[in-house]
């Protein structure tokens, strides 16, 4: 008889992914807002939405532009459900539920297609 723990791998992994995604993105947004609040210069919105690569580059270059930090938080929030679906696929695989690995991957593929199509 399988232990109940093995049946709930998916649930635990999904819970962790969602929590991490929400809190990390919230932290980035709070950080961005705080930087904007205490900034002495005026905040400029870019004329176009920066691509995710631009946002990441800006973050890792250490410039801490408030708008970029906020964008990073928002992008992470938008990606959290994507990660959740991927985690579900992995969790279903761990539970040896092949049907739902496929279902989860179908959903992920649609999300990914929409993402890639939008960012072109």
């Amino acid at each position: 008889m399988e232990s109940t723990a093995s049946h709930h791998i998916v649930e635990r992994w999904i819970g962790w992914t969602l929590r991490l995604g929400v809190w990390a993105s919230a932290a980035l947004m709070v950080l961005g807002l705080a930087l904007a609040w205490f900034s002495t210069s005026t905040i400029h919105l870019p004329s176009e939405n920066p691509r995710p690569t631009v946002v990441l580059h800006s973050l890792f270059s250490g410039s801490l532009d408030p708008v970029m930090v906020m964008f990073a938080g928002l992008l992470l929030l938008m990606l959290t459900p994507f990660l959740r679906v991927l985690t579900a696929a992995a969790g279903f695989a761990a539970e040896r539920d092949r049907t739902f690995v496929v279902v989860a991957l179908v959903v992920f593929a649609m999300l990914l297609a929409e993402l890639v199509f939008s960012l072109q």
Partner: protein, 270 residues
């Protein structure tokens, strides 16, 4: 953007998030009108902001409900195939329509939501489909009664159809769509109300994310608006869920149904 604007956005987010969570409506239904009518944001930006807020509250709530096994995960993921398709089409459509047209459609949606709020106080299915009668069997521990509730699901194609439409509405107007999915899951498929609500909320995050990047690509996501609003709604939803546990009664539902009708008129005539 002034300090006052930031505070207004956070405050507005908290209020709409609280009210939304209390009524089981999520932030979008109240946040979008707030952003348009009070903050004078263009409709597309308001929808994009709402979508982000909806992702936040859905994900936060789902984390808890999934771990408590109230969410019917396999049903939810199956229905997500439909909602994602619907949401992508909704998002693409919204970015072709004008702000005025979207406002009008939104005001019509508010009337429907208002109606559904009243309807569901009188119509819910207490007896769920027994295990073995359908697919996606599940059981959960109902904290209120201390009992273990077991059920299964019938008429999945019907619920997938409703999910497709709900996803479309979500992508088009930045709302969660739960007000349509939950009664469908409960009345058509015989899913207990708590499980239906939890499963619907779980799906909403993915549904919203499906159209989020479309709005982002069209430049409608303003981080200076979306960040404080999303944070506010997130905070408000935590408060609203706690209040929800204490307040019972349909008088609140009636009050807000009327409020939604008034907002609907405002959105139509703005």
């Amino acid at each position: 953007m002034t300090a006052g604007s930031f505070l207004l956005l956070i405050g507005g987010g908290i209020v709409t998030g609280t009210v939304g969570a209390m009524l089981g409506l999520g932030g979008g239904v109240f946040l979008t009108p707030f952003l348009v009518l009070v903050f004078h944001l263009p409709m597309h930006q308001a929808i994009a902001t709402s979508i982000l807020a909806v992702i936040a509250t859905s994900s936060a709530g789902a984390a808890m409900n999934v771990e408590r096994q109230i969410v019917n995960l396999r049903l939810g993921m199956t229905l997500e195939v439909a909602t994602v398709v619907g949401a992508i089409f909704g998002g693409l459509t919204a970015n072709v329509l004008s702000g005025e047209v979207l406002s009008r459609i939104f005001s019509f949606l508010l009337l429907c939501v208002s109606f559904m709020m009243i309807w569901r106080t009188r119509h819910s299915r207490g007896i769920s489909t027994p295990m073995g009668a359908g697919v996606f069997p599940a059981s959960f521990n109902d904290e209120a009664t201390g009992e273990v509730v077991s059920y299964s699901v019938v008429r999945v194609p019907w619920v997938m159809g409703v999910s497709l439409i709900a996803g479309n509405i979500s992508g088009l107007l930045g709302v969660g769509g739960g007000i349509f999915k939950v009664p469908a899951m409960n009345m058509i498929s015989g899913i207990p109300l708590k499980a239906a609500t939890a499963t619907s909320n779980f799906m909403i995050g993915v549904t919203a994310a499906a159209s989020a990047f479309i709005y982002f690509a069209h430049g409608h996501l303003n981080p200076l608006v979306a960040s404080p609003a999303a944070l506010g709604v997130l905070m408000g939803s935590f408060v609203g869920v706690r209040i929800n546990r204490r307040i019972k009664g349909t008088s609140l539902t009636w009050i807000f149904a009327v409020v939604l009708c008034l907002i609907s008129l405002k959105m139509f005539w703005r």
